[in-house]
């Protein structure tokens, strides 16, 4: 009687010639491009959220952060099918038996270790990023700190991986995709599709992934983005991230006792919303671009922040502490850097798209500045403060 055929497969059991370095290198190139864009735009987003900015984050172009953060999420989403296909092509390598020679064993352990780090990091970044973009946090670690740290680890492991595989990558990319020079000896069986077909399928899957999600940030795709996190609807035509109910600000925000206080050292001025509305009003068309990747553009009307700071003679270039009515939360207080505070387009907005600001958009008054992460566009503002 034959033994049960249940055993750990060997590398040689995998026969499909689709699982070839010729395919891996090509998919890997585009995956590397996606990861590089994700990493670069992630660094931009991380820096934009830093309180201390030795090199001031630019206020131009006003849509800059909308584009970089949109790209971050779009390239991360497109990377999902690329990563899955790439891992599929190299899956047999998981079952290579370790060499007996001690030196080669050490090299093998090091190489496999770097790949384990790369695979774990890549899956973690894509999974946690996708969950975050849908505001799902089924973990206890800090998303921002962990996603940022593991981005560095993953990119480091990717660079090591490229260094290790450089001869194969070069060889595979400079020869035809059907070339068998880098194939495993047993990988000789035709698959149901050709290698070119598999590559085209992978690009197609990446493209579909983008089309069905990117509507959250690209308005023209809204109708086809069946998996978009937001349809783009909301009060005054703009979605919201944190509601007044979640921030527990409704009583304070709607109270007749509400005053905006502007302070520079000992000097203080307090104003009602009516008094703010009586000041010179400016209108600016600016996007609200969230770190989760969705964005929408609106026309905001209100008082220039610089005009408010002038009421207390705060000098140009002053950094402003913006305080919200929220009683708790990491973004109850934010710092508005001097170059943002002085920009003419930076407003304490009182209305959006010709409607009074909705409570969920930050009524009675909110900050809106060009080229800034949405999480720093503080809502329900009660105090603008410049240290003397």
């Amino acid at each position: 009687m034959r033994a049960l055929p249940i055993r750990l497969p060997a590398e040689t059991d995998f026969r499909s010639r689709l699982r070839s370095a010729a395919v891996t290198a090509r998919v890997g190139t585009w995956l590397g491009i996606c990861f590089t864009i994700c990493f670069a735009t992630g660094l931009i987003s991380h820096y934009a959220q830093n309180v201390s900015q030795p090199i001031p984050f630019p206020t131009n172009p006003s849509w800059g952060y909308r584009v970089t953060q949109g790209l971050h999420v779009v390239t991360g989403t497109a990377a999902v099918p690329l990563l899955l296909v790439k891992l599929w092509t190299v899956y047999p390598r998981l079952f290579i038996r370790p060499p007996k020679n001690a030196r080669r064993l050490l090299l093998e352990v090091l190489e496999r270790g770097s790949i384990a780090v790369l695979v774990a990091g890549a899956i973690f970044q894509l999974a946690s990023g996708l969950a975050n973009s849908a505001q799902w946090y089924p973990w206890t670690f800090s998303f921002r700190a962990t996603h940022y740290a593991i981005a560095w680890i993953t990119i480091g492991a990717l660079v090591v991986h490229i260094a290790v595989k450089l001869p194969i990558i070069r060889g595979a990319l400079t020869s035809d995709v059907e070339d068998t020079a880098y194939d495993r000896p047993t990988a000789t069986e035709d698959g149901p599709i050709s290698r070119r077909g598999l590559l085209r399928t992978t690009w197609l899957a990446g493209g579909v992934a983008v089309l069905v999600t990117a509507g959250s940030t690209v308005p023209m795709l809204r109708r086809v983005s069946v998996f978009g996190v937001r349809s783009g609807d909301g009060p005054a035509g703009i979605p919201i991230n944190k509601s007044a109910a979640a921030a527990r600000v409704a009583p304070a925000a709607t109270s007749s006792a509400y005053r905006l206080t502007v302070a520079y050292g000992e000097q203080e001025v307090s104003m009602t919303r009516g008094e703010l509305l009586a000041m010179d009003q400016s209108s600016e068309s600016l996007p609200i671009a969230c770190v989760e990747g969705w964005s929408a553009s609106g026309t905001w009307t209100g008082v220039r922040v610089r005009a408010l700071l002038d009421l207390v003679d705060a000098p140009p270039g002053s950094e402003v502490r913006v305080v919200s009515l929220q009683e708790s939360g990491p973004y109850r207080q934010t710092v508005l850097q001097g170059n943002f505070a002085d920009d003419d387009r930076t407003l304490l907005a009182l209305s959006l798209n010709s409607e009074p600001l909705a409570l969920d958009h930050g009524y009675p008054a909110r900050l809106i500045a060009p080229n800034r992460p949405g999480v720093l566009q503080t809502k329900w503002v009660s105090r603008l403060e410049v240290a003397a």
Binding site: L87, I123, W139
Partner: protein, 150 residues
Amino acid sequence: MRTTRVVVGTIGVVVGAFGVWLLLSRQDVDQLVDAAVWLAAGVILHDGVLAIATLLIGALVLPLLPRAARAPAVVGFVVLGSVTLLAVPVLGRFGARPDNVTLLDRDYVVGWVALAAVIVVTVIVASVLRSRAGGAHGPRPGGRRRPHRA
């Protein structure tokens, strides 16, 4: 080439080590343990569940299909499978909040059914066209009837 590889590899190690320092220095132990669980779970779920499920589908389902349908079915499976996986957070609506109707404000299940329908119809149409073309675009020159292997 050797020097280039050593230099590039060293840069990678330094960049990765910086990330490890970032990871370990900014959170407490409980949070780090949770991050480690997530890191390991991703690899285990892929290598141990997803990859094996894909192998089984390839070995068990593919041979049941008419030959002309196999290539379109593989294309449809890769597209629908990967896109379904990345849509898990919205399909499950795990982040939905009663106080924010602008978040996750689509019927994602209907969206999935529509996407799946488009893909399935495309696969069927492509299969019929291929079968009418008389195997000119058949998957295997020579037309051996061997079940597809992994």
